[in-house]
């Protein structure tokens, strides 16, 4: 599973790393139980500081998407089939409110916001079916 980062982007590298892992889990290309490369390995591959990768992994751990044990390293902890963690919905709704407000403030019609959301969700589901098929 390949992760791309853009070193010239406004968004910090650890955030890009975290976002890509979240997306890979949603798309089914990273499955629960799958082992991730160690912080050192990944930093060595990107050619960036280990602390940056560590920060990205730390975000994923706090969100409960990744768990780290001394024996098996970092492992994907959750997937689309799991129940969301109790506090998740409240925080996420807050962030979504900001995102929706952005769209509304810029004059995007409600229907087109809904269409975009539907088509993105459909893309995730389609990728999950694809990666499920190629894995079996």
């Amino acid at each position: 599973m390949l992760i791309d980062i853009d070193p010239d982007s406004e968004s910090p590298l650890y955030q890009q790393l975290r976002d890509q892992v979240v997306r890979a889990i949603a798309e089914g290309s990273l499955k629960p139980g799958e082992a991730l490369a160690s912080v050192r390995q990944l930093a060595g591959q990107f050619g960036i500081n280990s602390a940056t990768v560590g920060k990205g992994y730390e975000l994923l751990r706090q969100e409960g998407l990744v768990r780290t044990s001394r024996r098996s390293g970092s492992v994907v902890a959750r997937g689309p089939a799991d129940e969301p963690t109790p506090g998740f919905s409240a925080g996420w709704t807050g962030r979504l409110r900001t995102l929706l407000a952005e769209a509304v403030a810029h004059g995007m019609p409600d229907q087109s916001i809904r269409d975009t959301t539907d088509s993105l969700l459909a893309d995730f589901a389609a990728s999950r079916t694809d990666s499920g098929r190629s894995a079996s």
Binding site: D4, D6, P7, A35, I48
Partner: protein
């Protein structure tokens, strides 16, 4: 004797030249002459003409080296090695001069100004690629057979035994008959085979960096092909070296009167090594073909311009990069990061090791 030198030096340098040219052909399209070039400029006239000049420079280097090799009549092992070293130095000089053309155009044209770039890496551990077991197994079998012949011949061998032969195949060094003087070469051969087997396992396991100058799948394919090419190459080399060492050894023991037998085995070994390398590179190039096809309808971000970290296009110096070992930018395999203390220490150890091996070879050849 003269005939042997006439054949050996030009053939050896020619094979080395072909090898060098084939390895250059492996470069990803974004790295002509080890200069990072964005896709939009990969086919610029200056790039094409620099590559053309580089090729002609290599031909010239070979002509000069071959002529010099013919002029050298000294028969020591150091003198036969000299043309190859000279050729390597000459090629590097040609590379440095020709890549300057591209570097200048890139600087003046600001090729990377405002271009989208990206780096990609493997976040899951890639599937472990097992190095092929058949070649090391064959190597062990060949060495075992040669050892068995040596054991059988041991009682009938003369004391002292001849241990060194000049380029014409005449014995010019002898040692008291002992386990070391009779089996030493085979022991060294076994050590080399073991070392190559270990290296092929390391090459198979090491997670090489994947840099995106294409789409992710192509970058992954490039890493995979490089890895399998190197593991197969190392294990095939272990077999060829075992075969060559056994052939030289048996030629000395079984055909002591036939002067050309040892020399022929030595040339055969050199040629076989080159053939195996060239075959591996050609095969890798074929497998890499899909990784070098670009889809003009779907332009991808370019790789990051990392030229400042590649001194002369060959040596990697980057203190911000935690990786000690990075894939070579030019040619095959990996190189050490000289921007980190660990990389410098490893490089010094490696140079000492090479210097030690060369010294031992020269000393054993001359002080017998």
């Amino acid at each position: 004797m003269i005939a042997f030198v006439l054949v050996f030096a030009p053939v050896f340098t020619a094979l080395f030249g072909v090898l060098f040219a084939t390895i250059i052909a492996l470069r990803p399209p974004g790295l002509p002459l080890s200069v990072r070039v964005p896709q939009a400029h990969a086919n610029d006239a200056v790039v094409a003409s620099a590559i053309r000049r580089f090729r002609w420079g290599l031909v010239l280097a070979w002509l000069v080296t071959a002529a010099l090799a013919l002029a050298v009549t000294d028969q020591t092992s150091l003198a036969t090695l000299l043309p190859v070293l000279l050729y390597a130095a000459f090629s590097i000089l040609v590379l440095v001069l020709c890549r300057r053309m591209i570097l200048r155009a890139k600087r003046e044209g600001d090729w990377f100004e405002g271009l989208p770039v990206q780096v990609s890496a493997q976040i899951t551990s890639p599937a472990y690629h097992h190095p092929p077991i058949v070649w090391p197994a064959l190597a062990v079998m060949v060495l075992a057979a040669a050892t068995a012949v040596n054991v059988a011949l041991y009682p009938s061998l003369p004391d002292p035994v001849p241990t060194h032969f000049n380029a014409a195949g005449e014995a010019d060094g002898w040692a008291a008959k002992s386990v070391w003087s009779v089996f030493g070469v085979l022991m060294i051969g076994t050590a080399v085979v073991v070392l190559l087997a270990v290296l092929s396992i390391v090459a198979a396991r090491y997670a090489a960096r994947t840099q995106a100058d294409d789409n992710a799948e192509q970058a992954a394919l490039r890493t995979r092909v490089q890895r399998s090419m190197l593991t197969l190459l190392l294990s095939q080399l272990s077999f060829v070296i075992a075969l060559g060492i056994s052939a030289i050894e048996l030629a000395q023991r079984l055909l002591p009167g036939v002067k050309w037998a040892t020399a022929a085995s030595a040339i055969g070994l050199a040629i076989l090594v080159m053939v195996v390398i060239i075959a591996a590179v050609a095969r890798g190039r074929e497998q890499l073909r899909p990784a070098n096809v670009r889809d003009p309808r779907n332009p991808r971000p370019d790789a990051v311009d990392d030229d400042e970290h590649w001194k002369g296009g060959l040596f990697y110096v980057n203190s911000d990069d935690p990786a000690l070992v990075v894939p070579r930018r030019f040619g095959l395999g990996w190189t050490l990061n000289l921007g980190r203390p660990g990389g410098i220490v490893l490089t010094i150890l490696l140079l000492l090791l090479i210097a030690g091996v060369v010294t031992v070879v020269i000393l054993t050849a001359h002080l017998r």
